[in-house]
Symmetry: C2
């Protein structure tokens, strides 16, 4: 079983975390059977944390976890915090193959999508 | 003159702020003459701040400023901080028409783009 973790920053504002949860559900319609499940996880302010989510994946019988950082730029969270959290968690689950994808903000499509947002509003 | 301000959170890591600057330049190629200029601005950790950027727009002779929040979810920054900064700044420039667009994370295209990122990596 291969689980995709959509890792967001997390907010003190619950509605914002619910948005991430909804997004993880919405992503499933664009899945091509590569992932059996998409689950949200949060770096701060919300649950599950990255270690909690990885533990859950292991308990659910996953053999692979793909961590997709839902962040816009390569700040400290991308360069230090997320890899650190993933490394710590992976030591507890040596049979779990965990990889981290590019962060969302590295997508080439963003510039066009931003301009679209500005022009439509 | 109509200036588009791409407002990002800002990072302690300079490379991340440079990414936003590059993105603001890249956006111009998708412009349909509605905006004369695209400039970055930051909520924290980087310059120009929102008030500084709005002041600069006024000095450059802008009559309109469009604030595009480059944020993923509707947390406190979208709901409180950015509107507050914009309101404060706009009191100093009553002749400047300033509007705030939807935040980037509200785009419908994001779920598909996220799944694409996960599948390609």
């Amino acid at each position: 079983m291969n689980i995709l973790l959509l890792v967001a920053h997390g907010s003190r504002r619950e509605e914002s975390n619910i948005e991430v949860d909804s997004l993880s559900k919405k992503m499933l319609q664009f899945n091509s059977n590569q992932f059996d499940k998409v689950m949200p996880a949060f770096l701060e302010f919300a649950y599950p944390s990255i270690p909690e989510a990885i533990k859950k994946c292991s308990e659910m019988g996953a053999s692979r976890v793909t961590v997709l950082p839902y962040f816009l730029s390569a700040g400290v969270h991308i360069n230090r915090d997320i890899p650190e959290e993933v490394n710590k968690a992976s030591q507890n689950f040596p049979n779990l193959e965990i990889n981290i994808t590019s962060y969302f903000g590295s997508r080439d499509e963003i510039a066009e999508l931003l301009m679209k947002t500005a022009l439509e509003d």
